[in-house]
């Protein structure tokens, strides 16, 4: 922190707190009146001006920020120029106006207790303000009882809260308490993409190497309007276009922000992109424009697969066998073995094929013409894009950078939610990964960069397929075997009938921290039914709908009022460690999530256990939390900083972060080159054999336990080791035949999810009327056929229900598709009126989670649309 100008005057600092107390003192109007009366303002007394380096906490981009605090008031939030070479060059509209998430008259300021036991959207909770002491006593008493009976009956859920206090604290607290039920939100976001990565290369985190890419084939990654790493992706895309002539093609049903600026927009039919990519794979395979050395040496494309789909193993039961062209026999891929990439063979009398051959045979009938019929993308476009992708990948070429000779494949297919936020989301991104593997662009210059290939080998294992489930969200149980990122929507369903899932306990209490969970989930009202059954504590900054269903509401501090060990986004170019530091506290709030956890730990007699679990969860080695004492939020950050950053905390205070640039070697040679290439090593899974193995295991468990609520036929389709055309037919596409339109959802730049930015007066008023609400986006021609014009009120009717919205007729959407953004149309009377504008689409979406990852299906629903 540097003080650039001093001149503190008495009372200047009090301005913020006067405002914060909500005293109706409209200085603006008063000043305006004075000006009108011809009274010039008195000479300005200097106010204290402080510059504070910190981090934005609104979304998972974690931009570096520089706040200017004038007279105790956060005046501006700019991008931190020092952070540009590590992450963000600029900031989004939410970030630059983020102080108005803090300066919000609708903030929660005192703990509240519900006095109306009945919970419902139309029920007045009859809140009573209580002291913090009473709030802690009440919550701790309830927790103590549960902990004594069965601590698993507590469910802790968080959303963006994970990125505020830091998820490791939440993990440590729930661990100390004794419940396995800590549930994050990723299945409402992009969990399926992560699980596809985990199953394929045993790690998570991908980004295109846009510094060198020439061709970006983007399947619905709309980083101009939302998403992770978007402040790097957008900047790097602009740089790539200017410096490298990067061409971008965006494949998605709606002309999103990123599609609207692309070289080409390919409006694919919703959910059918899997078939389109498989057809592209066929084009590449048929033309032989594939990177055979890469497939052979780095992937399990050479593994031998039997007719049941299982990979043949060596005598150890683990090591996969390949067909050795030298000896003409099935062997492990060891030194001296030359594996066959293609072909059918006989091993011990059994017919086997290489995994690559299984893929090639699987796409034989998926011609571009067939894909045109299914995905409504012209066959010639599919062929052209496939050929361009292969050509731009420059298969076989190398490039020298800083003396290192490297594989050069500057064409990359990338996605975020486009291929993943659907019923077969894992298979969706698996399809994309396979196309990338076919041209060998993984960890190659200009290709797809993996963040830590084979970093977590356990993802290649067969799932434990728990039954009975240990967790209330059913993650990693037989219901969702590879739900590696929790399942945020299941707890509120399971609590309604835990026995139906074999859960060996009945959850009684939920703590929601920094999440408005039910609003973000398809078929939302079923979520509220769950919340109505449990005793709920909500920690948040606003009276969200989740808070409306709470028994106790605890006000949290915002990211501008708190000390945080801040998460950061790493890129292929750099990594960094950062903190957030408080700039203000206008409402004089006493507590935030950290101190709430700490205080509850004390009252539950588990403070030292919490400290011990913090050390484990954060992986602290040299600097640790010690027993027998309390820690403030700042002290907690100091402990972690000392251990992780290994520099003086003064550096954190002055700069807000420390960063490190990637080396060429680290960037290109530490991943697949080191972990997968050549004999005797694990392989990237072109063929996800652990899925078929898991299916057979799950099948046995289902039959043994007579689980009527698991549909084995659906499980078999979901657990295919290779993507198939079936994955382009989610449940509503097969069943909702009388509903002619596809409905898809998307983000917009002007709001974040359904919580922390909704009351922001700048976002709601200064960005234009169109940003203050959302619309039902309909193709102009299709709208006219329905007799609609711009601004008409329409009804969207699905098999779940009906919702109204305002029609916006555009050219940039498919005629068979409508799109509605989420973040709008909340209903809590405790939110600002402007927050309630628009349509809350999630409430009418069908809920068909991905059976592998548990990911929510946001883009599979079908609907009718008509004039209201």
């Amino acid at each position: 922190m540097t003080i650039t100008r001093r001149g503190f005057i008495k009372g200047a600092g009090a301005l913020g707190s006067v405002a914060g107390m909500g005293i109706s003192l409209d200085l603006v109007a008063m000043a305006a009146q004075a000006a009108q009366n011809g009274k010039a303002p008195r000479a300005a007394a200097p106010l204290e001006v402080r510059k504070v380096k910190s981090g934005c906490g609104i979304c998972p981009n974690f931009c570096g920020i520089e706040g200017t605090v004038v007279g105790g008031i956060v005046r501006t939030l700019y991008p931190d120029p020092a952070r540009a070479e590590f992450y963000n060059h600029g900031m989004c509209p939410k970030g630059v106006s983020g102080m108005f998430n803090t300066y919000d008259p609708y903030r929660l300021k005192k703990p509240l207790k519900r006095t109306n036991p009945k919970k419902g959207a139309g029920e007045d909770p009859r809140w009573v303000e209580i002291s913090w002491d009473e709030a802690f006593d009440t919550v701790a008493a309830r927790l103590a009882k549960i902990r004594a009976q069965d601590p698993r009956k507590l469910i802790w859920q968080h959303g963006q809260g994970k990125y505020l206090v830091g998820e490791n604290y939440c993990a440590a607290w729930t661990k100390a308490f004794g419940t396995p039920n800590m549930v994050h939100r990723t299945t409402a976001c992009e969990a399926a993409r992560h699980v596809a990565d985990e199953l394929t290369w045993a790690g998570g985190g991908i980004l295109p190497d846009l510094k060198h890419s020439k061709f970006l084939l983007n399947f619905g990654a709309n980083y101009y309007e939302g998403e992770q790493a978007s402040r790097w992706l957008d900047w790097q895309t602009a740089q790539g276009i200017a410096a490298n002539g990067l061409k971008t093609v965006v494949v998605e049903p709606r002309l999103s922000g990123v599609a609207g600026k692309a070289d080409e927009w390919v409006p694919v039919r919703p959910g059918k992109d899997v078939v389109m990519i498989l057809a592209m794979a066929k084009v590449l395979i048929d033309a032989g424009t594939i990177d055979e050395p890469f497939l052979t040496e780095y992937t399990n494309a050479t593994s031998l697969v039997d007719e049941a789909g299982v990979v043949l193993k060596d005598k150890d039961g683990k090591t996969p066998l390949v067909w050795d062209t030298v000896s003409g026999s099935a062997r492990p891929y060891a030194a001296g073995v030359k594996p066959a990439l293609k072909g059918s063979y006989t091993v011990d009398g059994k017919a086997v094929r290489t995994a690559f051959q299984v893929l090639a045979d699987g796409v034989r009938d998926i011609t571009p013409e067939y894909a045109q019929e299914i995905a409504d993308v012209p066959a010639e476009t599919i062929v052209r894009l496939a050929r361009t992708f292969a050509k731009e990948a420059r298969i076989g070429e190398t490039i020298e950078i800083e003396g290192q000779k490297l594989r050069y494949r500057p064409a990359v297919l990338y996605t975020f939610r486009g291929l993943s936020a659907k019923e077969h989301g894992v298979q969706g991104w698996r399809t994309g990964l396979i196309l990338n593997m076919l041209v060998g662009n993984i960890d190659a210059v200009g290709g797809l960069m993996l963040d830590g290939a084979y970093g977590r080998a356990q993802y290649f294992d067969v799932s434990k397929c728990e039954y009975p489930p240990s967790r209330a969200d059913l993650a990693q149980s037989v219901f969702f075997p590879y739900a590696n990122h929790h399942i945020c929507q299941t707890p509120n369903l399971v609590v309604q009938d835990p026995k139906a899932y074999g859960l060996p306990y009945e959850p009684e209490m939920q703590i929601f921290y920094g999440t408005n969970r039910p609003m973000s989930i398809p078929d939302s009202w079923r979520q509220f039914e769950g919340m109505a059954k449990t005793y709920n504590v909500v920690i948040d900054i606003n009276m969200t709908e989740s808070a409306w269903y709470a028994d106790i509401v605890l006000p949290d501090k915002t990211y501008l009022e708190s000390w945080h060990w801040a998460p950061t986004r790493s890129t292929p170019e750099a990594k960094h460690l950062a903190i957030r530091q408080p700039m203000c506290n206008p409402y004089s709030l006493q507590h935030e999530a950290f101190s709430i956890m700490w205080e509850l730990s004390k009252r539950l007699g588990m403070r030292d256990k919490f400290a011990e679990e913090c050390n484990k969860a954060w992986g602290l080695k040299e600097s640790t939390f010690r027993p027998g004492r309390d820690y403030s939020q700042r002290e907690g950050v100091e402990v972690i900083w000392a251990d992780k950053a290994k520099t003086d905390f003064a550096v954190a205070l002055e700069h807000g972060f420390v960063g490190k640039k990637a080396t060429v070697k680290g960037k290109y040679l530490g991943g697949v080159e080191e972990k997968f290439k050549g004999p005797g090593k694990a392989k990237m899974k072109l063929y996800a054999d652990q899925l078929i193995d898991t299916y057979y295991k799950a099948e046995g468990i289902v039959r043994k336990n007579g689980l009527a609520n698991v549909d084995l036929a659906r499980l078999r389709v979901a657990y295919s080791p290779l993507p198939t055309r079936d994955h382009a037919f989610p449940t509503p596409h097969r069943e909702a035949r009388d509903y002619p339109f596809y409905v898809i959802t998307h983000k917009r730049m002007y709001r974040y999810q359904t919580g922390n930015t909704l009351n922001n007066v700048i976002l709601n008023q200064a960005l234009g009327e169109d940003a203050a609400t959302n619309y039902v986006t309909i193709n102009r021609g299709a709208g006219r056929k329905l007799g609609l014009k711009d601004g008409d009120k329409v009804v969207i009717e699905t098999r779940v229900g009906k919702v109204k919205g305002t029609a916006k007729l555009v050219e940039g959407i498919r005629p068979d598709t409508i799109a509605v953004s989420y973040h709008y149309g909340v209903f809590s009377p405790g939110m600002a009126p402007a927050a309630r504008n628009g349509t809350w689409i999630n409430q009418v979406l069908e809920h068909h989670p991905d059976l592998i990852s548990g990911h929510n299906s946001f883009n599979d629903t079908k609907c009718k649309v008509y004039k209201a």
Partner: protein, 230 residues
């Protein structure tokens, strides 16, 4: 002599509206009088369609029609500073709106009511800063016309600090919309210097002025998106 201009690359602009948002915060936005907006539209027909994002604020014309009108009626509330930004003196402005009518871009906004950001809920954040502590362009006034000033408070500071050469480089001297852009689609600089970054970029990109036929010689240049209005 420094003559400031802005370059906006519509091919780069992704329509995020961070410039609008940051401007609103920086310049004490009041709901009746926005300074910085996004003109957003489609070009083409399905499926050959693109998006155009055209951020618009004051063009700081060399021959501002607003000033001509204001001078013509003798009010003389509008001046062009030595750096070239066009600024309205709220105390002189009589609120007639003539400038708003003559501006080809509809930039000047008559603030009929200096509405607070959250009426009836007290001042929020910087709304509580007293007028005396604000730059004159931030002392919003009922029935005065206001508009983008090129962040005159920062430019004035640059002049006072002898840091005119740092405009466009340092946060404290750079118009806020230009410094927050995530994709660096905007820049500000001296177009009297043919070697400045902005002079070279304008030349390299064939950037144009909008509504040039009005002859006001706007000092904001645009790299036009394909199919964009000009």
């Amino acid at each position: 002599m420094t003559r400031l201009a802005r370059l906006i690359d519509m091919k780069k602009c992704m329509g995020c509206r961070a410039c609008m948002s940051a401007c609103a915060v920086e310049n004490h936005f009041t709901p009746d009088a926005p300074w910085n907006v996004m003109i957003e539209y489609e070009v083409g027909t399905y499926p050959q369609v693109r998006k155009v994002y055209n951020p618009m604020a004051c063009m700081h014309c060399e021959k501002p029609a607003c000033k001509a009108a204001c001078d013509y009626i003798g009010v003389k509330a509008i001046r062009k500073t030595e750096l070239g930004n066009v600024v309205i003196d709220y105390d002189k402005c009589n609120g007639c709106g003539y400038c708003a009518s003559t501006c080809p871009y509809g930039v000047p906004q008559l603030n009929k009511e200096v509405k607070p950001l959250s009426p009836g809920k007290g001042p929020l954040g910087s709304e509580a800063l007293p007028l005396a502590a604000r730059h004159p362009t931030h002392r919003k006034k009922v029935r005065a016309v206001e508009k983008c000033t090129f962040c005159a408070h920062k430019l004035d500071k640059a002049v006072a600090d002898g840091k005119v050469d740092r405009i466009g480089k340092d946060h404290e001297y750079t118009p806020t919309c230009d410094l927050v852009c995530p994709v660096q689609a905007r820049m500000v600089g001296d177009i009297d210097d043919p070697q400045s970054d902005i002079s070279r970029r304008i030349k390299e990109t064939n950037a144009v002025q909008l509504l040039k036929k009005f002859g006001t010689s706007p000092q904001v240049f645009y790299v036009l998106e394909e199919g964009a209005s000009s």
